[in-house]
Symmetry: C2
Subunit: 199 residues, 2 copies
């Protein structure tokens, strides 16, 4: 056996793969999914197009991987905001703010993750991550109801409504790149009303 992959090589491979995914994410940040042609990603990563296929089976897998990495980061941030102490209402408000602030820190990426048309594989992953967001809010709602801070309600539907409202309210501003003053406040207020939280 005159060749066996050494740890140094493995690390180089891992680094190359990471650089590839990073380059792809940068393409999405700049130009959305359309900027993620295999050729463009390869060039941005400083490798040949064929090299992409040494790290990933096909383009769909590349996009899904990028989507997952970026989406997971966002879900984690919102989940962290949900896990703080204090009344449920405060946690929800914090989640909404964190979500919106992070989205506007990278509007093009946020739009791509949230709403931009993409391949069926990415769409499937999007549904999955929508479910993750819902779960975060559903847990909060369930706890709020249990604690008596919120009126009895279907936590799943309420959570879906919040996620939908977040997306719907933010999509257009994200495309424009600017959030009108007051919108975030109104969004928080509307979200809390959705849960039947006392004003």
């Amino acid at each position: 056996m005159p060749y066996r992959r050494t740890t140094a090589v493995q690390e180089r491979l891992d680094a190359a793969r990471a650089r590839l995914l990073d380059a792809a994410e940068h393409q999405v940040r700049a130009h959305g999914w359309a900027g993620c042609s295999v050729a463009a990603v390869a060039e941005a990563a400083g490798v040949a197009t064929g090299t992409v296929y040494r790290h990933l089976p096909d383009k769909a897998a590349l996009l899904v991987e990028v989507f997952r990495i970026a989406s997971q980061r966002e879900v984690d941030a919102v989940a962290a905001a949900a896990n703080g102490t204090g009344p449920v209402v405060a946690c929800v408000a914090r989640c909404v703010e964190v979500f919106a602030q992070r989205a506007f820190a990278a509007p093009r990426l946020a739009y791509a993750l949230l709403a931009e048309p993409a391949s069926p594989e990415v769409e499937a992953a999007r549904l999955e991550y929508r479910r993750a967001y819902r779960a975060v809010f559903a847990a909060l709602v369930a706890e709020g109801v249990e604690r008596g801070e919120l009126p009895a309600q279907d936590a799943e539907v309420a959570a879906a409504a919040i996620v939908g409202a977040l997306a719907e309210v933010l999509v257009v501003p994200l495309r424009d790149g600017a959030l009108p003053r007051g919108t975030l406040h109104a969004l928080t207020a509307t979200t809390l009303r959705t849960l039947g939280a006392p004003a």
Copy 2:
């Protein structure tokens, strides 16, 4: 001038165009946007592919036209439900029910109109029609606030939240083709809470 388009011919052309759009909508009802290749639509309409281009400049225009016709029909139905008499809360509940019922009468089409990935041109039209739905709800909310039936709030944000919630709650059931029992009721309740309507 040895030829001038006669009214009979014009009517035949109009009918052919209508048949084409109708065939395209049927394709969407059955298979979503993917079923709308120019060849498939032409065959479904009983004409040659080249004939499509005698009625529409290109494929994008065909899809947008189909989208508009179907979406306008739905918006009109919801707007009609909004225009009835009675308290604003009842109108909103009626709108939600009408929207959901009509969507589940043609789930594949509803999914295509609501959320299925499509060409940029269709996406643009989708944003436009989302705005139309928002306008319907925003008018209701504004009237509710004015009448003192609803607490003071940002009508635009509240309307966007309702539209987003509607879409988010229904998208997955639409893909499955079945609305779980109780979901519609919970959706209505959540929607009314969003507006701060008294339970």
